[in-house]
């Protein structure tokens, strides 16, 4: 790690730690920002690095959310009775019960998401290109429909999550910190992963799956592992997000295919897919845009989102990092002979 890059990482870390103290009223919004970063990082593992564009990664987010909720409540109460009462039972969790439940719930959310990803990968990875995208979209919609028809977990009316035991303001800071740590761990893990042989293998799958297989790569196994990595972090993010919102229900919070499910794709494409920093940059920009449009263009925000996706995909395919790579190759350690500007157009696929 060069000194400049170390300084950049430390600056981001410092900003992340300082943010909730500087703007305590916005801690939850900032936490959502870190969840967005995690979203686009995990989507890029599949869509950018491996070339499998999933529209249904949100499944694992909702799955983690529900697993964690069931574990947290199930350790102390009967889940069916709790959800049937829809908040009528006033629940008292002691501090110890709450944090033990949360810790166990987080672990099981991650593990459960990985197990489901492994099963789904057996079913879905035979599909390629747009069929994979549609199949995963189908899985996400089916998960939402089935959860809302399942009475034991509250169906469409959802679950009121256990109340955080700390004082006022503590809850926001706690979950802000948790989301930030989750996103940063995800970043560090992927940073390490992209430096290993594994990333070469999944890049080979993206470039030409048949040739990769012919050269002896066990493509099915690599695809399963890559999806499981995504699923693990998404499951944990879902568990944290559910607790942060305090109330979960299938269509809008747990499996929001048309909002978060699309945001993760839009963010990654905006930042530039197939790069480590692209998703982070994309998430930051998208998050800022979203906050602005949601505040000033209320009612038009989804039109703005749709237009953003169209313009991004149709006219600005390579994303910000891809654009920078062609314009400023020396920033990325690529030495260009002669004038940098002259060679910009020639290697636009890099």
């Amino acid at each position: 790690m060069t000194r400049r890059s170390l300084a950049l990482h430390l600056a981001i870390l410092a900003a992340g730690i300082a943010a909730p103290f500087l703007f305590p009223a916005h801690a939850v919004q900032f936490a959502v920002f870190w969840v967005f970063v995690l979203f686009s990082l995990t989507w890029d593992t599949m869509g950018g690095q491996m070339g499998y564009n999933s529209l249904g990664n949100i499944t694992f987010f909702g799955l983690g959310m529900y697993i964690c909720a069931i574990v947290q409540i199930g350790l102390v109460y009967n889940v069916g009775e709790y959800t049937a009462a829809t908040g009528a039972i006033k629940v008292d969790f002691t501090d110890q019960q709450y944090f033990a439940g949360l810790a166990l719930g987080l672990v099981l959310a991650g593990v459960g998401a990985v197990i489901v990803a492994a099963i789904l990968s057996w079913i879905l990875f035979g599909l390629r290109g747009p069929y994979f995208a549609i199949g995963t979209l189908g899985v996400a919609i089916a998960a939402a429909e089935l959860t809302s028809a399942w009475g034991w977990v509250g169906g469409g009316s959802g679950i009121a999550m256990p109340v955080f035991p700390g004082g006022p303001g503590m809850r926001e800071r706690f979950f802000y910190a948790a989301c930030m740590v989750a996103a940063m761990l995800c970043y560090l893990f992927l940073r390490w992963l992209y430096g290993t042989r594994f990333s070469l293998a999944i890049n080979a799958i993206r470039d030409d799956e048949d040739k990769a297989e012919a050269l002896g790569l066990h493509t099915a196994r690599y695809k399963m592992v890559a999806w499981s990595v995504s699923a693990f972090f998404l499951g944990i993010a879902g568990a944290l997000f559910g607790n942060m919102t305090g109330f979960i229900e299938p269509l809008e919070t747990a499996y929001p295919t048309l909002t978060f499910g699309i945001f993760m794709v839009a963010m990654t494409l905006l930042g530039g897919k197939g790069t480590l920093w692209g998703p982070v940059v994309g998430a930051t920009l998208f998050y800022t845009l979203r906050e602005v449009t949601w505040t000033y263009l209320l009612g038009w925000q989804y039109i703005a989102l749709g237009v953003l996706i169209i313009v991004n995909v149709v006219y600005f395919q390579q994303g910000i990092m891809g654009w920078l790579k062609t314009r400023k190759p020396h920033w990325f350690g690529v030495r260009v002979e002669g004038k940098p500007a002259a060679s910009a157009g020639t290697d636009s696929r890099a």
Partner: protein, 300 residues
């Protein structure tokens, strides 16, 4: 669930009712799926905004009927407007994504779908709407089974449209150009077919068909800005199950899906109707997967 099955067993007339409802709604699915298969086959663009084109056509019909145009008559101007709209969308978006990878077109049309949904939501509000066609209802089996006359007319209209499309593709000069481009765009270009124009025509014709389907939906069912995605999903289910290039199979599958949906809605309950469609999609994909695996055995 079992009680519902028993009802079907003891009173077979209910089957007739479900069958009739299923066939009429399936005919509309057939139009949307037919347009999707056409565009998919010719331009290889998978239009995820298909259902929203249907809804837009429905709302245009709704708007015309409020100004005193009978909805059946309104089908013609709506189809014309949607044709122009399709041309515009082709020029702005589709033309640029045809050359790019397949996911790009999927995502671009998804963005289009979101934009259209929200625009309709802003223009007409989230309420469910329907268009009165002013026809009565047929009663069969001494009133045990009834079906609105408009459904019968709608079924006839769908069939007529489908037949007209098939004839257009078989007989007309443009239809032949479209089929040639679908087979081999490069060869078609060499032989003097303006493929860009063919793509534009195909996409606009699809939009027009969707518009007509939308007006029919408005008469026999309901309109809602966010119901479009349901039609898109159904169209995809039908085309994936029937395969491209076989338009008769598309129509038969669409009618079958309509019937299956009515049955599952009756037996399992209405809240499972959407889940059934999605479940069916997954089942088809898994089935294809197993087929492929048998195929790949030779490689391993």
């Amino acid at each position: 669930m079992w009680e519902n099955l028993q009802i079907l067993g003891t009173a077979p007339v209910f089957n007739v009712q479900l069958l009739l409802n299923g066939l009429t709604i399936g005919a509309v699915f057939a139009l949307a799926a037919y347009g999707l298969a056409l565009v998919w086959g010719v331009t290889s663009v998978k239009n995820l905004a298909q259902g929203d084109f249907v809804m837009m056509g429905g709302y245009l019909g709704y708007e015309l009927s409020r100004h005193g145009v009978h909805p059946i008559v309104a089908i013609v101007p709506v189809a014309a407007i949607m044709f122009g709209y399709g041309w515009l969308i082709y020029r702005l978006i589709i033309r640029r994504v045809i050359q790019l990878d397949l996911f790009t077109s999927l995502l671009a049309t998804f963005g289009l779908a979101i934009t259209m949904q929200q625009a309709m939501n802003l223009a007409f509000g989230p309420d469910v709407r329907t268009v009165k066609s002013g026809f009565g209802r047929f009663e069969l089996f001494g009133g045990m089974v009834d079906i609105t006359q408009i459904r019968v007319i709608a079924f006839g209209l769908c069939i007529a449209l489908a037949v007209a499309m098939i004839l257009f593709l078989r007989k007309s000069r443009m239809g032949q150009a479209i089929r040639a481009t679908a087979q081999d765009p490069r060869a078609a270009r060499v032989l003097g077919v303006n493929t860009d124009r063919v793509y534009a025509m195909t996409f606009s014709i699809n939009a027009a068909i969707c518009g007509a389907a939308g007006v029919i939906i408005a008469m026999i069912w309901v309109l809602q800005p966010f119901y479009g995605i349901a039609y898109s999903v159904r169209a995809f289910v039908i085309v994936t199950a029937a395969g491209l290039g076989n338009f008769t199979a598309v129509i038969v599958t669409a009618l079958g899906l309509g019937v299956i949906e009515q049955y599952s809605g009756f037996v399992l309950g209405a809240q499972f109707q959407q889940a059934t469609v999605v479940g069916l999609l997954l089942a088809i994909l898994i089935w294809r997967q197993i087929q492929l695996r048998r195929h790949r055995q030779a490689l391993q």
